[in-house]
Symmetry: C2
């Protein structure tokens, strides 16, 4: 059966032992078998799930999404449409978030460009944070 300890499972999957226990506590993975001394021992299927979770997390999926994806993976009669729907929704979230960050960056870059960045105290960045009404004719007419 090739049972491994939590540290070995961690090394094999790249998920910290701390997180492995956490996933168990929130029901994302099944509780593994315990030896007499109450140590957790993981089998191949457990390791697969942990790897699956890590790769999904690397793609930015939330635990709730991962829970569904894992369920779909286990369900051999799933429809790929369900998986794709989750992915497309997540892609939209990622893109929205990225666009938000890009907008902040753009605004800030514009301000930073017009800032001398020397010993003088006057600074358009502070002025922008200062102004009572950020809306106006300058940006979104």
């Amino acid at each position: 059966m090739n049972l491994v300890t939590i540290a070995q499972a961690s090394a094999a999957t790249g998920v910290s032992a701390k997180m492995i226990r956490h996933y168990e506590s929130i029901g994302l993975i099944r509780a593994p078998v315990r030896t007499e001394n109450r140590y957790r021992h993981y089998n191949e299927a457990d390791l697969h799930d942990l790897g699956f979770i890590r790769r999904a997390r690397d793609l930015g999926f939330s635990f709730e999404d991962i829970r569904q994806l894992l369920d779909l993976w286990r369900d051999k009669g799933r429809s790929s449409a369900e998986v794709k729907a989750i992915a497309l929704r997540h892609i939209k979230e990622l893109d929205d978030k990225a666009a938000q960050l890009a907008a902040m960056s753009r605004t800030l870059k514009r301000l930073a460009e017009s800032c001398h960045g020397d010993a003088r105290p006057d600074c358009p960045i502070l002025e922008a944070l200062d102004k009572p009404a950020p809306a106006g004719g300058c940006c979104n007419p």
Copy 2:
């Protein structure tokens, strides 16, 4: 002096009353004067600071950054270089984060494109999450 209650300060600045109290508790803003009944009352300078904070938060600055920006704003002998340095560092953080999200989105889009998205169970998205080694010749040679 035009003193206003916390709800009015909230309405005027767009910062929730909850957050205003929180900012006070972490020392981001000064404790306002209290009336006899212990109600907080904010003056013009307080409102300015709250507006400043909200605009800085809208640009994604952390509280620690905002603390420094507020200090710089109050210091009339500041050098704009200091402000610009904070802004440039933050711009880099924003861009890094956006790039990270974009990379996730790109990977996921590639997978989603090759997924039928119909009633059939086979799905490249699940396969990608499945595979033991995500590194390989397909992406980063």
